[in-house]
């Protein structure tokens, strides 16, 4: 029975015949409602890129305000209309921009755009499967994400503007309709978009988990999985277990907004209104619920990048990854700890101080698996025969940023320091470096590395190098000074610092940061040009395995069809990191173990 069931599990898929005959897809089934995981991955990637551009543009706009608070730009009014009266962004617009920038980049770009793209693209290819466990659900996952995107986008065009209470959507700003212009329709649309997004990530996550567990090819045991797949597996588990908590929190928020309940509202005093009639609610409850998702979310963003970086580093150092098991164990440890530390975002909320100290302890524990990973990356590079491809550079950049941002995480994890640093630019610098830019680097590394597999063409290397060096330098130039601003007490989310005598000293620095931000943004446009040009006109891939890599995706044809392998799915005989073994440069996973092959 057992083997039968397993057999059925594979057969019932009906994909095994895919590789064998030509498809006659229409444009609609091939490019739009495709059920091919590779096409869905590209859809996620390109939608994510659109959002990244929009989110980046928003940051440029509000950096313009922060850098040049007194200047007036008439062209702004012609784009933004009433949101930039007299060529200056209004405070409402500023807050809306900041909020949407955060929401969009955290959820739409670095969650859907990163794990959506690479989980879809790499899981079936690297574990040796024809497609996802349920290609249909996979397609639904993308279309829920797309719908969420449309709803979020539409919130920017409503009369009162998008939500403007910060991406964390804390009540009462999010619970009271009159708290700010964005708390009206904008917030409703925000909630709907997030609910759709939760459905999308759930559909995707279930699929990734079931696929990795059930659909591995023969011989692909769990310890022969590339680290990318392990990372994506933990990412999916994190998403499946934590997003529902956000959904619950949002449902309660909807009731508070529209049905007169007081889950999050109490008899607080509101300027101009007086005391609210609500009783007994607790705004802290929302923060708990939000961060129960919010903290795992940080790792949902980071883990895929970590996995891809491990893979890319090993391939381009021509060395096995150092400490495969330790890497795996630390991924697991990070995934578990991710669920235990959420309240370190809430040290200043009036959290029970004893509870806070437990959260400090648990938070600092994350440093251990993180350090293990960093050391293993560095020792993977050690005495490697390194090829500095753009993908590799971005992977190294990731490690650098992860160290710089991770170290400040240890500061912030201490409640005693956090009370001083909370909600300052120090926090902004920390999470942008460690989570934002670092994951972005992971994503770039992934795109540069797997672009030949995605499109059968190469990206332009020279543009890639320019892209890397400007972005790398820019990331530090933008965010490093923010640490000093934060230590000096400069609070985040303020519209205009020029009115405080104590922050006037930072006027030049702010202008500098804004200028660099614009340059970096322009460089990303260069990457986009490179990306879209290369899809159609890039140098064609001639070698099916251009990076001389061991993993299974390179055993497929240069442009694999739906079903990935034209013939049989290869069987796996070894782990994916046999680089430089017995003087052989690389031994792909599907090569049987030779009789006299050394064990070391």
């Amino acid at each position: 029975m057992s083997h039968e069931a397993a057999l059925h599990a594979h057969e019932s898929h009906g994909h095994d015949d895919h590789g064998h005959h030509e498809h006659h897809d229409t444009f609609l089934t091939k490019y739009v409602f495709s059920q091919d995981h590779k096409m869905i991955a590209k859809q996620f990637l390109i939608t994510g890129m659109v959002w990244a551009v929009l989110g980046g543009l928003m940051s440029v706009l509000f950096r313009l305000q922060l850098g040049y608070p007194e200047a007036s730009f008439p062209w702004l009014e012609s784009i933004l209309g009433k949101w930039a009266k007299g060529g200056q962004i209004t405070p409402e617009a500023y807050y809306a921009l900041v909020t949407t920038h955060g929401t969009v980049l955290v959820f739409f770009v670095l969650t859907a755009g990163l794990s959506g793209t690479f989980a879809n693209f790499l899981i079936p290819l690297q574990i040796g499967a024809r497609d996802m466990a349920s290609p249909f659900m996979n397609m639904l996952s993308y279309w829920f994400f797309f719908t969420a995107s449309i709803v979020m986008l539409s919130s920017m065009f409503v009369e009162t503007g998008p939500f403007s209470g910060g991406w964390t959507a804390y009540p009462p700003l999010s619970a009271l309709h009159d708290a700010s212009p964005g708390s009206k329709t904008g917030m409703d649309l925000w909630i709907i978009a997030m609910a759709l997004f939760v459905v999308s990530s759930l559909l995707g996550g279930l699929n990734y988990i079931a696929t990795i567990l059930n659909m591995r090819t023969k011989g692909m045991s769990m310890t022969r999985l590339p680290l990318t797949i392990w990372a994506l597996f933990f990412t999916a588990v994190l998403g499946v277990l934590s997003f529902p908590v956000l959904l619950s929190g949002l449902i309660l928020l909807i009731f508070d907004r529209n049905f007169g309940t007081s889950f999050y509202l109490s008899d607080i005093f509101v300027n101009g209104v007086g005391a609210l009639s609500n009783e007994g609610g607790s705004a802290i409850l929302f923060q708990h619920l939000f961060w129960f998702l919010g903290h795992p979310e940080v790792y949902i963003i980071l883990l895929p990048a970590m996995g891809m970086v491990s893979e890319i580093m090993s391939v381009n150092s021509r060395k096995p990854i150092f400490g495969y098991m330790a890497m795996l164990g630390s991924l697991f440890a990070i995934a578990v700890l991710a669920f235990l530390v959420w309240a370190h975002h809430m040290f200043v909320t009036g959290l029970n101080p004893f509870l806070g100290s437990v959260f400090v302890l648990l938070t600092l524990l994350i440093a251990v698996p993180s350090a293990i990973k960093v050391f293993n990356w560095l020792t993977t590079l050690w005495r490697g025969n390194i090829r500095f491809t753009p993908g590799m550079l971005f992977a190294i950049g990731f490690v650098s940023l992860f160290i710089s941002g991770g170290l400040t995480g240890i500061w912030l994890g201490n409640a005693a320091l956090d009370i001083h640093l909370h909600d300052t630019y120090f926090v902004i610098a920390h999470f942008h470096i460690v989570m934002g830019v670092a994951s972005m680097f992971g994503m770039f590394a992934g795109v540069y590395h797997w672009f030949p597999k995605m499109y059968g063409r190469h990206l332009n290397n020279s543009l890639g190098y320019i892209h890397f060096w400007v972005t790398m330098a820019g990331a530090y130039l933008i965010f490093w000074p923010m640490h000093y601003q934060g230590l000096a007490g400069m609070p985040r989310r303020y519209f205009d610092f020029s009115i405080w005598e104590s922050f006037k000293q930072f006027a030049d620095l702010n202008r500098f940061i804004s200028t660099v931000a614009m340059i970096v943004f322009a460089t990303q446009i260069l990457f986009l040009i490179n990306f879209f040009y290369s899809i159609f006109k890039g140098r064609k891939v001639t070698d099916p395995n251009p990076w001389k890599s061991n993993t299974l995706e390179w055993t497929t044809p240069i442009n694999p069809g739906h079903g990935n392998w034209p013939g049989e799915i290869p069987e796996v005989h070894r782990w994916p990191y046999d680089y430089g073994k017995d003087g052989v440069d690389f031994i792909p996973q599907d090569v049987p173990v030779g009789e006299h092959e050394s064990s070391h």
């Binding site: 083997h3 069931a5 988990i209 769990m222 277990l241 529902p244 007994g280 150092f322």
Partner: protein
């Protein structure tokens, strides 16, 4: 075999392997080749258990849809968990709370002032337990390829689900007539002080969300019944979808165990 070492959640640790792990933690290459040789031995003298994780089949001996259903239910457990834990949190952060026995004391068709705490809800609980039992019987009949048994038990399950929903509708209606609703709480705390509206807020939200699950469960069961009657599963040679629907239905029952305890007993 070696693969069990690294995944304590998924596999087994043996002392020997723990030893390998620690002695070689800093030298992955050595460690992994060690595993490799071990593995090649395994393939020749394969023990059955070691092969579960080796690829080419499900490590759980379960078809992918069922894996997805289990993980979906876990994720749904977190949704309900978040609701119930929020309820607990708010209850713990409030000084007084209404006594459920004074709130839920009515019974259909009984005179206005009747005092019958817990009676109605215990009937609801038993309805759901019984419908869960008939669901198990349906799943079992499916495994036996007994179409008649499946149909009979599915019908009972659906009736049970509808009966539960009707009970809930009556109870909601009754409470609404007493003046309770989202944002409205006519009941006072057990100690005679004024109560916040969060008692009714949480009651209606959580039982409503559970009722929504029961409703979708009934819809799924009706679809399964129709598919059974159309011989879909006979043609496929197995009643797998009934098993998955069964998992969902039992989960709904499971959630009710918690909701029932949290709202009516504690």
């Amino acid at each position: 075999m070696g693969l069990h070492i690294c995944i304590p959640i998924l596999g087994r640790l043996t002392p020997k392997k723990v030893g390998y792990f620690y002695s070689n933690i800093l030298d992955s290459q050595y460690f992994c080749t060690e595993i490799e040789t071990e593995m090649s031995n395994v393939t020749t003298a394969s023990t059955k258990e070691a092969k579960w994780w080796n690829g080419g089949k499900s490590p759980f001996d379960v078809e992918y849809g069922k894996v997805m259903m289990w993980y979906f239910l876990m994720s749904d457990a977190f949704t309900f968990g978040a609701f119930l834990i929020s309820y607990g949190t708010v209850r713990f952060s409030t000084n007084g709370w209404p006594d459920p026995n004074k709130v839920f004391k009515s019974f259909p068709f009984a005179p206005e002032g009747v005092n019958a705490p817990l009676v109605f809800v215990s009937i609801m609980t038993f309805i759901l337990i019984v419908s869960s039992v008939t669901m198990v019987l349906a799943v079992h009949a499916g495994k036996m390829m007994d179409k008649k048994g499946v149909v009979r038990n599915m019908i009972w399950t659906i009736i049970g689900g509808i009966a539960f929903l009707s009970c809930q509708a009556w109870e909601w209606n009754h409470l609404h007539h007493e003046g309770a609703w989202w944002g409205l709480n006519p009941f006072i705390n057990a100690d005679g002080t004024a109560s916040t509206t969060n008692f009714t807020n949480f009651f209606f939200t959580i039982t409503g969300f559970h009722g929504f699950h029961v409703f979708s469960g009934v819809v799924i069961n009706i679809i399964m019944l129709i598919m059974t009657l159309m011989d879909k599963f006979e043609q496929r040679g197995r009643y797998l979808m009934i098993e998955k629907a069964g998992l969902y239905w039992h989960f709904v029952d499971l959630v009710w165990v918690f909701v029932f305890t949290c709202f009516y007993l504690l």
